[in-house]
């Protein structure tokens, strides 16, 4: 989500800046005084601030969190946990009936993509489908949650919010050589199931809670992930833009409030004053920006001369890393120079040249019904040796109160959203008055209050949601897909499905599971995975696979240096280098956000370049050749018609996680037959054919190449890039 605030601020601040050029240099101080003296001007907003009214506090998301009891339902037989009662209650009110559970093959593919971003292997599907255990599904979830792929999947969701990139943006788009450490920290923290309250605390104030702890230092990279105009002339302007970005980001990500809207003027719709914005910003005012700091948590006072070089900065930094042993890795993390606070001001009309009245750090009033104060000094819970103001630690504690109505509703909604494709609130970054209302307010509150009860464990929350009958529902009621259903179930399912489509076309009530398109990252990972090519390497600096030729020629040569080790080209998408000014083309066509503002919900467009990427790119060609190679090799010991049938089946199972039916086998046989005939007739030399890799020795090149084409066509099925 992108706020308008930064833009307005800059446009506005630039106008006075322009005036400044025409005025004598001391005009600014005069200007401020005039502003202060004039009646009705905004400079005294802190005093004239509109109080929060009872009515303001009535908006659903500002109301206190209460723990609702799961409602009574008519059909007490349906449902597996309290979530289902909240869902069923609303369905019953509308006379809708939930769909039966999806069959096991569908379910394992859904939940595997959901938790790991990868397709299940055929052996995993077989094991699950035939698992006699009562709790086979629960065991499956536990296994997936325990895999490292979980963090690699859910880490990306968080990195979207953190507007993560490994460069500065703007003209030079300089490298941030250690930015990957934050990405790795996120993946690792999720995999270790760091409790969400701690996860937040470390990202806001890891340096204060755990001075000297490298992990905690790296975590604070969160707020500083955004774009930065390193080459702007005015340092004050740069600082102002970055501090406002941090403040707006914290508001959006943790509170679901677009408080960035209040940097130039009071928020037009939400009860957030301009003073609220700058009071929150005051919490970050002490942060030492624009210098790299040690990522091992060690204190450091002097800057290491990064400033000096501009031209060969990137080479130098890379060299620094590898050549000599220069001490701890350095990067953009929170660091303060002692506990003495810098004064902070309301910036008149968001103009960095016009500091208004001094403000004290405080939490946005509407989100702070308890009137909790920012700790006045280094708080008692901070270790003795703390050399910081303690302001951020105070903010972090406040954000993780177990009764925080906004913070908890926000995270509950985000987790739900990534399991269902849509949140209970469909505007996950906007819980204020301009956002949408929740479809199930009580359910949202129940989950929000449940998280602290689960010791803030996100994994336990996933498990809770995933084991609900609501999650397990089929996404379609047309029975042919659901082999396990009884005749009765089929009849009922098709009827409920029809009614759900008719009465609730957007599926807000969840009488069925949503169908979801995979993100570009997951599609790429799936292509690599089903073709047996996915590298298992984890972590480390972002890697750069080759770019399409057309793009390679249009960028600065030093902006994309293809990684020398070919295996690195096949690593999971989350490890690809993130250049702010150049989205990786395959992800770009599949709606990857631009990493300038926190993105809580990706667009999902359907455009022809996506089809072109899946049909014509090197990525899909390679995947098709390797999938064909694996399949043909694996079936090489068979003979005759059985062999081809087995090949078709295996290709289906690897790419789509299911067996083809007879009609599908026939279609595939027909494709292979006609294409082989055609290729034979064409008589192209075999080096011009898309041969499988490896090509089994006894295989005719044309029939093998036809099989590669068959594999390519499987990647172009809707089924391949959709969950369900």
């Amino acid at each position: 989500m992108r706020g308008h605030g930064r833009e307005s601020v800059n446009r506005r601040l630039m106008i006075p800046l322009l005036l400044g050029l025409l005025c004598p240099p001391d005009a600014f101080s005069v200007d401020v005084d005039v502003e202060r003296g004039a009646p009705g001007t905004i400079d005294d907003a802190a005093k004239d601030e509109r109080p929060i009214t009872t009515e303001d506090r009535e908006h659903w998301s500002f109301r206190p969190l209460r723990r609702p009891s799961p409602p009574a339902v008519k059909n007490a037989r349906w449902g597996r946990n309290p979530i289902d009662r909240f869902i069923l209650r609303r369905l019953e009110e509308k006379n809708l009936v939930p769909l039966p559970p999806a069959d096991r093959a569908t379910l394992i593919r859904r939940v595997t993509f959901d938790l790991t971003g990868l397709p299940p292997a055929p052996s995993e599907v077989d094991a699950f489908v035939s698992d006699p255990a009562q709790d086979a599904y629960e065991q499956l979830i536990d296994r997936l949650l325990a895999s490292t792929a979980y963090g690699e999947r859910w880490g990306q969701h968080w990195l979207d919010l953190a507007r993560f990139a490994e460069t500065d943006g703007f003209e030079q788009d300089h490298l941030r050589p250690n930015a990957w450490r934050y990405r790795d920290w996120i993946i690792d923290a999720l995999n270790r199931d760091v409790p969400y309250d701690e996860f937040v605390r470390l990202q806001i104030a890891g340096d204060e809670f755990r001075p000297g702890d490298p992990d905690a230092a790296v975590a604070t990279g969160f707020a500083l992930c955004g774009p930065d105009m390193t080459d702007i002339n005015l340092k004050e302007e740069r600082r102002h833009v970055v501090l406002n970005d941090i403040t707006a980001t914290v508001g959006t990500v943790f509170l679901g409030l677009n408080i960035g809207c209040a940097q130039c003027h009071d928020h037009k719709f939400d009860p957030i004053s301009q003073a609220d914005f700058y009071r929150l910003r005051a919490v970050f005012e002490n942060v030492d920006l624009f210098r790299d700091h040690p990522l091992d948590g060690s204190p450091r006072e002097e800057s290491s001369g990064r400033k000096k070089t501009t031209k060969s900065k990137e080479q130098k930094q890379t060299a620094n890393q590898t050549a000599k042993k220069p001490g701890p890795p350095m990067g953009r993390v929170f660091h303060e120079q002692g506990s003495k606070r810098k004064p902070s001001h309301l910036m008149v009309r968001g103009d960095f040249k016009r500091p208004g009245p001094t403000l004290l750090p405080a939490f946005p009033r509407i989100a702070n019904p308890w009137g909790e104060r920012v700790a006045p000094s280094v708080a008692e819970s901070l270790p003795e040796e703390a050399s910081t103001s303690g302001l951020r630690a105070s903010l972090a504690r406040w954000l993780t109160r177990p009764d925080h109505p906004l913070a908890l509703r926000v995270i509950a909604n985000r987790v739900w959203q990534h399991h269902f494709g849509e949140g209970l609130v469909r505007t996950p970054n906007l819980l204020g008055t301009t956002g949408q209302e929740p479809s199930h307010p009580e359910l949202l509150d129940w989950i929000a209050t449940e998280l602290p009860r689960l010791d803030w464990s996100l994994k336990r929350l996933h498990r809770l949601i995933l084991t609900s009958a609501t999650y397990r529902q089929a996404s379609t009621g047309l029975a042919d897909t659901m082999v396990a259903w009884t005749e009765d179930q089929r009849r009922q399912a098709s009827e409920s499905y029809r009614r759900s489509l008719e009465l609730d076309p957007e599926n807000r009530l969840l009488a069925r599971q949503n169908r979801r398109r995979l993100e570009g990252e997951a599609i790429r990972d799936a292509l690599l995975s089903v073709s047996g090519r996915l590298s298992v390497r984890r972590g480390g600096p972002g890697v750069m696979p080759p770019l399409p030729r057309e793009i390679r020629n249009s960028i600065r040569k030093d902006h994309w240096k293809v990684s020398p080790d070919e295996e690195d080209h096949r690593r999971r998408s989350i490890y690809l280098f993130v250049r702010r000014n150049l989205r990786y083309p395959f992800f770009d066509v599949f709606d990857r956000p631009d990493s300038n503002m926190p993105c809580g919900r990706r667009d999902r467009t359907t455009i022809a370049p996506q089809a072109l990427a899946l049909l014509n790119s090197d990525l899909t060609l390679d995947a098709a050749r390797h999938l064909a190679g694996i399949v043909l090799t694996d079936c090489a010991r068979l003979e005759g018609a059985a062999r081809q049938r087995a090949e078709i089946q295996l290709a289906y199972r690897r790419s789509l996680g299911r067996r083809p039916d007879d009609a599908e086998i026939e279609l595939a046989e027909e494709l292979l037959r006609s294409l082989t005939t055609r290729l034979d007739a064409e008589g192209r030399p075999s080096e011009d054919l898309a041969l499988p890799e490896p090509l089994p020795v006894d295989r005719s090149p044309t029939s093998a190449a036809a099989f590669t084409t068959f594999c390519l066509s499987l990647f172009n099925l809707n089924e391949f890039i959709y969950i369900d």
């Binding site: 706020g3 702007i232 249009s554 359907t606 089809a611 014509n616 390519l712």
Partner: protein
Amino acid sequence: MPNVTLPTDLPPGGTRREFLAQAGGGIGSLALAAMLHDEGLLGGEGSHDASSTRPRQPHYPPRAKRMIHLFMHGGPSHVDLFDSKPALKKYAGQPLPESFGQVMTRRKVAKNPLLGPVRPFRPRGASGLEISDFLPHIAGCADELAIIRSCHGDSVNHPQSVYQMNTGSILMGKPSLGSWLSYGLGTECRDMPAYVVLPDPGGAPKGGPPAWGSGFLPATHQGTLMRAGKEPIVNLRPQPRFSGGEQRAALEFARKLNRRHLALRAGDGELSARIASYELAYRMQSAAPALVDLSGESEATRKLYGIGEKDTDEFGTRCLLARRMIEQGVRFVQLYSGDTGGWDAHKNVLKNHGTYCRRTDKPVAGLLKDLRQRGLLDDTLVLWGGEFGRMPMSEQGTGRDHNPWGYSVWMAGGGVKGGIAYGATDDVGLRAAVDKVHVHDLHATILRLLGFNHEWLTYSHNGRDERLTDVAGRVVWDVIA
């Protein structure tokens, strides 16, 4: 069987409408554009409609129906091209008088001696508009031009200014003018996207792709990069190893299976849209190369653009492509002249601008003449300009630093007065001084020419009605005929 119509290609609700719109001519008549941009997209904050590129009517009868933006990247020097300053000539070699006050510059050139215009200016055409000898061909079209000599923007830096000229904001990530036009007008042509960018083969402008990004508008409205030559669009061509019947066979197979898949998921408009997008992608593979195939153009036309001449061949080819796209109904074509450095003449204006003027002068004039003779100029708006101008003070002796405080752009064609100059900079060309035109004002004027009230062309994002001109913008009526 369930009581649902099966199988169906027609999704319910909003997407059904879009689907019908695109299927209206029958799949057979659909081509590049529709595929690129009109497939019933879901998601985003706006209505489903917001991502469509079906043609739409603007607020007023438009004076221009389409636009070509000739972006001279790096910052062409107004005081050497379109803004004759006798005083600058007179005071050359002396420092800027104190009376001009403090000047913010990129490279601390404020105290450097003034540099006179490096080539002479002369009155041109019936209008007598003064244009430099750098641009003899464009000077020959003087009576078509409305030169705005009082433009100004907000940043002395390239990327910020490139963003601002494109999006109104100096920050990355806002929708560009072309995206707003695609969103507001859609495209009448189903063979091409609404917004096409022809980058300089030497490299992207400073700041890169966000310059033609769609920001918070749906991705369907972002600029599509096209290049001259055999591979105009990324991944357009089938892999050489699938050069026989492979791709068609794969598509055919996928289509059959996708329909089976859809049959059991009736009502999913997104799945239907994807099926259509494949059909369209397939056709696009022949439509786009046909567009860049210039073999049908006459020798006279090629000569007009300087195609075949060493200096002008490259830019001339792109100018001709721009005309061909405009003819096809593309709304907005943007051409960049200048690689990552481009017109950024810090060191030697004569040499730098000599090179870039030689490359672009004849092709640009050729484009104007060709549009005129084909009757296209009446409703095609042409905009020429950079992200800013250059300082009257010298840099490194014979160069000039960036100047966003005052510079020139010109417009020609659809609805614009010909042979006029609007506004003025101060005596030396340092700052816009008379009838100042901020980038927001320029955008407001362009939108008006294309039929929009810039305050009404909005998109609701994060609870705010966003627009190209933010909270500013004033239409410069005096340049509108």
